[in-house]
Symmetry: C2
Subunit: 255 residues, 2 copies
DNA sequence: GTGCCGGAGTTGGCTGTACAACTTGGTCCA
DNA sequence: TGGACCAAGTTGTACAGCCAACTCCGGCAC
């Protein structure tokens, strides 16, 4: 802290994010205790040398992460350390694996250009029959297969992916370096039986129920950049979500 | 609209929520088109007769719902209609079922007071061995069994639930009427094989892989009010989440 | 003891202002 | 033709202030 008045640029990071990060750290290390009370917004403003509005912006971040509650009339209550990950860790199997201290692996099984089927084109916002690339990959943790990843890319992006080495661990990271932006994603989580291909690659009996995550990712202009279907072996992964009356990004659908 | 200057109370609803609701409706009915651009914040402020700050508050709601993107330097882009539900619809099977036009049903199988096991007490923030109530219910859609709900309540709340009729459709709603507040929830989604009890009640073979949602719900003071484990028959439900670089409530964990 | 009431403390909501950072499209020049 | 550059438009960040709504606790009356 103590960067007061430097008008950004020092860290390139907004003041409210610095405050949020500092508070997050304080909460994670238990400085306020679980179930404890946070100082009043005004006190925090004084302490950090910012306005109350900036403190409120910082607290809104922690609120969305489920680290604190808030209610009119009384001080904020600490709920506990956040269990949420960054957007990047959620998007990229590779980053996620690294963040939990595992060794991620990836082997590209097939990359095929093809006319997209109606469903794929709809998900990618393309005209029916447009060219797409279908990529099938086997993902491993510490060399053990855990997931099958079937991703469909629009032609523009698939052409880039095609050039990646077959044993490239990450596709997301090189794409980002090439200027492809991922900013929003919709996830659907359910279960699905393993087909013959899944069974062969994952080493499980056909028909085994797999945890399935389907994901559509868009760039900041709303243009879809990938449509992916990931199938995890049972017991290898779980998804967690926090929501509250203040913010809800989760919903339940008919299967 | 046109409530300008009435200092709340008229609808009891905050101005920014009214603006958000109006914009949501406009987007849902396609007034701006998918991929279209929203008017500038300043224009919206003029149109609704509020300050730009209030408009930004409204837009933050839509941002979190995944309906619009936002980026410095250019107007907001419409992503599409939201698929998210209210917090209440997510918490309550009954409300969810009604919101999708199905007929919810519930039958209480057992309600037993018992000393909580260490895991249960930890989840509920109680001393090990504290008294809890375990409630087992079978939930149906249009009279077809779809889910087994095992909920653990702290004694104070369990005592209330105990008094509910055995065929009560909802437990959440009467609890709310009795003043129990639900404000924050952590969800974990994975799969789990049906045990003998699941199999008998759901009418599936033992060992069938079920979609499992575990949920811990707290009140505004951070005190846990329920710890629930719901097991859904395959194909009856899917969970969807939206997240973005701006807000992430989702994470992936080792299973 | 019990319950009502009021006041201090705190967060929610809203306004207004100012500037920074960024996108976009067009102009101008080489 | 192509590229650099500029200007207008737009969102992000931050500040300051005001009042409403609500919680909580302690004092007071009964």
């Amino acid at each position: 802290m103590e960067i007061r008045g430097v008008a950004m640029g020092v860290q390139g990071e907004a003041r409210y994010r610095q405050v949020a990060a500092d508070l997050r750290e304080a909460i994670t290390t238990g400085r306020y205790g679980s179930g404890g009370r946070l100082p009043a917004e005004g006190d925090l403003a004084l302490r950090y040398g910012v306005s109350r509005g900036t403190v409120r912006q910082a607290l809104a971040v922690l609120r969305a992460d489920g680290m604190v509650t808030s209610r009119r009339g009384t001080r904020r209550v600490v709920l506990g350390a956040a269990r949420t990950q960054s957007f990047a860790e959620l998007l990229s199997f590779t980053r996620w694996a690294r963040s939990i201290g595992e060794e991620p692996g990836g082997r590209t099984v097939t990359v095929e250009p093809a006319p997209g089927d109606p469903g794929e084109c709809a998900q990618l916002g393309l005209e029916p029959g447009s060219s797409v690339y279908r990529v099938l990959r086997l993902r491993t943790l510490s060399r053990v297969p855990v997931m099958i990843e079937r991703t469909v890319y629009p032609e523009r992006i698939g052409a880039l992916v095609r050039g990646f080495p077959i044993d490239a661990v990450s596709h997301t990271e090189p794409l980002e370096e090439l200027g492809v932006l991922f900013t929003d994603a919709d996830h659907t989580i359910d279960q699905w039986p393993a087909d013959a291909e899944d069974a062969r690659l994952l080493g499980c009996p056909p028909g085994t129920s797999l945890l399935r995550e389907r994901r559509r990712t868009t760039d900041p202009t709303g243009v879809p950049v990938e449509w992916s279907q990931d199938r995890y072996l049972p017991g290898t992964v779980a998804f967690t979500v926090h929501n509250s009356v203040a913010t809800t990004a989760l919903s339940r659908r008919r299967g």
